[in-house]
């Protein structure tokens, strides 16, 4: 899947050619897709609680049922209003959106 040399790794072209890199503003933009997996690690720690809540709502809207949300090792969504829509997957701060 990839080649690694020195301190770098490069994905195989077959895979990397299918990747889209785009800028999205968590503060102001709205959901633009439903994903199976969202990784957002160590970003939310820089947001205050109201903004964290907004971002978690955005992620909730952007995940398909049974999709996964991965946060940083010391972040959590336990205190958020979206928590009811997720179950803890394991202790690695991975949550799975419920199928309902």
């Amino acid at each position: 899947y990839y080649t690694a040399r020195y301190d770098y790794a490069s994905f195989d072209r077959e895979l990397s050619s299918k990747m889209i890199f785009a800028t999205h503003n968590l503060v102001s933009d709205r959901s633009f897709n439903e994903f199976q997996l969202i990784l957002c690690r160590n970003v939310m720690i820089y947001f205050d609680r109201p903004l964290q809540e907004r971002v978690l709502q955005l992620f909730h809207q952007s995940l398909e049922p049974l999709g996964f949300l991965c946060l940083g090792s010391k972040e959590n969504l336990r205190f958020s209003a979206v928590a009811q829509h997720f179950t803890v997957w394991n202790k690695e701060k991975i949550w799975r959106k419920t199928g309902a």
Binding site: N42, M44, I45, D48, R49, Q52, S73, K74, E75, N76
Partner: protein
């Protein structure tokens, strides 16, 4: 800042040799302390069972700090590995993942300085054994903002460099041997 003058927060920092001190002091802390305790020790990686180890030695609740967690009195919070732990003006802790400070993350200075800015005179800072300078500047900020500065007696420290460094730069309110620390903390 200090309406009634009582201590609201104690921050403890240490590096090499500080774990032994904590294990010696924790069992003697009385439950129901009127302040929260935040402990920052230099730690290697996220796999460590440090919180569990400390929790087993005390009746006080011990937990790793989580982002935006509100501080509760009588509770011990441990700075997690690979994050800086900061004190916020609304009485909560926040985490930060930026570059190391004094080659450390968590950095004692970061915790001490933010605590000093928020808690001023209601703060006590204690610096323990260690092999680097992290925490000395932070202790100075605690002093400058009217908090109390406590330092482990370098003669009792496994690595005297850190506490001695603090004493070289500032006037400590107390210089404590580990066996004196629990009484001092219980008396606050």
């Amino acid at each position: 800042m200090a309406q009634d003058g009582r201590v609201k927060l104690v921050v403890i920092g240490g590096s090499a040799g500080s774990l032994e001190v904590l294990l010696q002091v924790l069992p003697f802390l009385r439950p129901g302390l009127a302040y929260a305790l935040v402990i920052v020790v230099h730690r290697k990686s996220a796999e460590s069972m440090l919180a569990e180890l400390l929790a087993g030695r005390t009746r006080l609740p011990v937990k790793e700090a989580e982002d935006k967690e509100p501080l509760l009195s009588g509770t011990v919070y441990l700075a997690p590995a690979d994050y800086h732990t900061l004190l916020e003006s609304n009485g909560s802790l926040s985490l930060d993942c930026s570059e190391k400070v004094n080659w450390s993350r968590p950095s004692i200075d970061v915790t001490f300085e933010t605590a000093a800015d928020v808690y001023g005179e209601t703060l006590v800072g204690l610096l323990l054994s260690g092999a680097n300078h992290d925490g000395v500047v932070g202790l100075g900020r605690i002093a400058a903002n009217g908090g109390q500065v406590w330092v482990q007696d370098p003669a009792t420290a496994q690595v005297a460099y850190m506490p001695q460094g603090a004493l070289n730069e500032l006037q400590a309110d107390r210089v404590l041997r580990p066996e004196e620390m629990a009484d001092a903390l219980n008396a606050l």
